[in-house]
């Protein structure tokens, strides 16, 4: 799908708050991402990185503000409010129909793969194409086979997820997300659940995707080498606010903030 | 022919239904004790007894579990009243059959509780050279109880609701009472069976509360 409003940033967080009960995870967070940008979010656990991806995927919802137009608390995707919708000239909390419409542009790969165990590999990749994009079965299958070839799993189309290794499952999950032609791909610690020897394959596939497409990517990862190679920008989070951001070389080689330095030292020591 | 609900009949039949309800509770206590104790015995025999004894007990329990209580009650009642001892009361025979029937379920719950105990516990008990009765009394049974109690309690509640089956041999529970009243007054089906259902419902509320407390306590226990 083409981005209809290229003059907007593709992702915009405008003073977004997110609390779970008494715990405030995001504190009036604002940032934008331009189309085609690859942004890596780093920071200690609990800093709100994953929450940002889950808000974009509408798996979580922003903590509402009284007047979104004035107070913020709105997420926009391609200029369109994601967490809200226009109703009578006001921004109100989005309903399921609105969410479904905006969600079409976004895909996500999860830490725990979340392949559907009741479907063989091929059907995992075709199912949503058929049911949410309305593609024909043949069309969806052709697309799925092509993508499964890209991730190196042509031989496994007829396997069940339970018969695959974690790395293979994650590569299927990447193919499944790409099959929906997303403008934005959210990668949530996609290698954290993998045995060390399987990480390289998955990252290799993602490097390919980064090199050959212009999909906007938001990446949460502890793989600093991968982050450095793939991203244009790195944002360091702590307690729901951006501590520091910049080009990967700046952040990784010459971090200004003490909290960034501490965090990188701790991660690289692992 | 009776039509609709009559408050007057309901008032008249209620004392008899209440008596029937008390009998249901009495049967539940007697049969419940049998189910709890016999089930435990069966589970332990299957674990420590001679393999042949275990297999036999298991086969019998399987047969009991997979055939209707109603027919078992009829069969045993026929046997005792015609061939063994006609003086044995329907209450006693009915409670015994009901208890054995549910022992076939509780035994499975105890067994599941025993099997859920980590192998390491048996090994540790062996390493300490504990005598068998101490292994069971001090190590296995206490841990099994925590795992099995809620399930066993659920079977007893299920059993409580099946007590009315014993009307077939004349135990004076609620169905019998309703039928007796109908026999004398040619009315009371609506009121009798409705009151019987409502008494069960009324009892199920405190039981549900007690079960929740029990489950919370078990969840909070330290092992």
């Amino acid at each position: 799908m083409q981005n209809p409003t290229t003059d907007h940033p593709i992702i915009e967080f405008d003073r977004v708050n997110k609390s779970f009960g008494d715990l405030q995870v995001l504190n009036r967070l604002s940032f934008t991402v331009d189309p085609g940008e690859r942004v890596t979010l780093i920071g200690p656990s609990g800093s709100g990185k994953t929450t940002i991806l889950r808000l974009l995927m509408t798996l979580e919802h922003v903590t509402p503000t009284k007047d979104p137009a004035a107070d913020g608390g709105v997420i926009r995707v391609g200029g369109q409010p994601l967490s809200h919708m226009e109703k009578g000239g006001r921004l109100v909390v989005a309903n399921e129909r609105h969410l479904r419409q905006v969600r079409r542009r976004i895909g996500m790969v999860f830490q725990s793969f979340n392949l559907f165990p009741n479907m063989r590999v091929l059907r995992n990749v075709t199912e949503a194409q058929v049911h949410t994009l309305g593609r024909s079965k043949d069309e969806a299958e052709a697309k799925a086979r092509e993508l499964l070839d890209v991730v190196g799993l042509s031989a496994k189309v007829d396997s069940y997820p339970s018969q695959l290794s974690g790395g293979q499952q994650q590569r299927v999950a990447i193919a499944r997300a790409l099959a929906m032609d997303p403008d934005i791909l959210l990668l949530d610690e996609v290698t954290s659940a993998l045995d060390p020897e399987l990480v390289a394959d998955v990252l290799g596939v993602l490097r390919d995707v980064a090199d050959t497409t212009s999909i906007t990517m938001l990446i949460v990862t502890h793989e600093m080498g991968f982050a450095r190679d793939v991203s244009n920008r790195v944002m360091m989070f702590d307690r729901g606010v951006i501590v520091e951001e910049g080009a990967p070389d700046e952040i990784f080689s010459d971090p200004r903030e003490a909290r960034t330095q501490d965090f990188l030292r701790a991660v690289l020591a692992e | 022919m009776q039509t609709g609900w009559s408050n007057e009949t309901a008032r008249e039949i209620f004392p008899a239904m209440w008596d029937g309800f008390i009998v249901v509770l009495q049967v539940t206590v007697v049969a419940g004790l049998i189910a709890v104790l016999l089930g435990l015995l069966v589970a332990v025999v299957q674990r420590v007894g001679h393999p042949a004894a275990g297999r036999t007990v298991n086969a019998v329990m399987q047969f009991v579990r997979n055939t209707p209580l109603l027919v078992q009650v009829l069969l045993v009642w026929t046997a005792t009243s015609l061939y063994i001892n006609p003086d044995w009361s329907a209450f006693a025979v009915g409670s015994a059959v009901l208890g054995v029937h549910y022992a076939s379920y509780t035994a499975e719950s105890y067994r599941a509780g025993i099997e859920a105990i980590p192998v390491g516990q048996w090994e540790a008990a062996t390493a300490l050279s504990l005598p068998t009765h101490r292994v069971w009394g001090a190590v296995i049974l206490p841990q099994m109880m925590r795992r099995s109690t809620a399930a066993v309690a659920n079977w007893i509640i299920a059993m409580f609701k099946e007590v009315p089956t014993l009307f077939i041999i004349g135990v004076l529970e609620m169905i019998s009472q309703a039928q007796k009243y109908q026999g004398q007054h040619y009315t009371g089906a609506v009121e009798g069976y409705t009151i019987a259902g409502l008494l069960f419902l009324a009892a199920s509320y405190p039981v549900a509360v007690a079960m929740r407390r029990l489950e919370n306590r078990l969840a909070k226990s330290h092992y």
Partner: protein, 240 residues
């Protein structure tokens, strides 16, 4: 007792055996529909759907199947001014509702046990709530339900004997009838029907195991049968 008389009377069990099977199968089918309807409703996130279903389940489970059977057979017709041409219908309704209410908890539990990540992945792929249920949740929940539903099906078979007491001629009723005739023995006939029930229960169990194996194969998992045991999840939980 005359053994020849017992053997000669066996063909008379044909039609009542069919009745027992019809009562069991019909009330199991009805119970399955009730179980899924109530199970889906009690899984709903909307209070207006969940609450009435919850109340109905508790209402049915709070009472006794035997009493409900008598109520449907003899109280409901009076209250509604109708008459059952065949009391077998009252039996099927009472047993179907009762076991449907119990089984709805199995359905609800299995739906709730589908990992949250599965629903999140389905959301990420933009499936509608209905598609999530049909394509993702139910296919995964179904194999988990089978052992417990099997236990309920066998309990339902056993409960089907109760229709004999509201005047339906099933094998239990026939055993009592023939058993009290001259030259016959009730003990023998009750034993004969116990064996019949046991065989029927075994058939249900075998069928359900095959169904479970097939369902689990649809998840790429192999199941090892455990002969003659109450399904572990049933034993561990009692009747929920």
């Amino acid at each position: 007792m005359d053994l020849q008389a017992v053997v000669d009377s066996l063909p008379r069990y044909g039609e009542p055996l069919l009745t027992t099977i019809v009562v069991t199968v019909a009330s199991a089918a009805f119970a399955l529909v009730v179980a899924f309807a109530l199970g889906l409703m009690t899984s709903s996130k909307h209070l207006a759907i969940r609450t009435p279903a919850r109340a109905f389940v508790e209402f049915i489970r709070g009472s006794s199947a035997v009493v409900q059977l008598f109520w449907f057979a003899f109280a409901m017709p009076v209250l509604l001014g109708i008459q059952f041409d065949y009391l077998i219908a009252a039996g099927i309704i009472a047993l179907g509702l009762n076991y449907g209410a119990y089984s709805s908890e199995v359905v609800r539990g299995a739906i709730a046990a589908v990992p949250k990540g599965q629903l999140e992945a389905a959301t990420a792929l933009n499936l509608t709530p209905l598609q999530k249920m049909r394509l993702v949740v139910l296919p995964q929940a179904w194999p988990e339900m089978i052992p417990s539903l099997c236990a309920f099906a066998i309990m339902l078979l056993k409960a089907s004997a109760l229709v004999s007491i509201i005047g339906v001629m099933d094998i239990t009723a026939l055993a009592g009838l023939i058993g009290s005739q001259a030259g016959q023995d009730r003990l023998v006939h009750y034993s004969v029907v116990l064996v019949m029930y046991f065989i029927l229960a075994w058939l249900i169990w075998t069928g359900m195991r095959a169904l479970e194996r097939k369902a689990k194969r649809g998840l790429g998992v192999d199941v090892k049968p455990v002969k003659g045991r109450l399904a572990p999840e049933v034993a561990a939980g009692g009747v929920r």
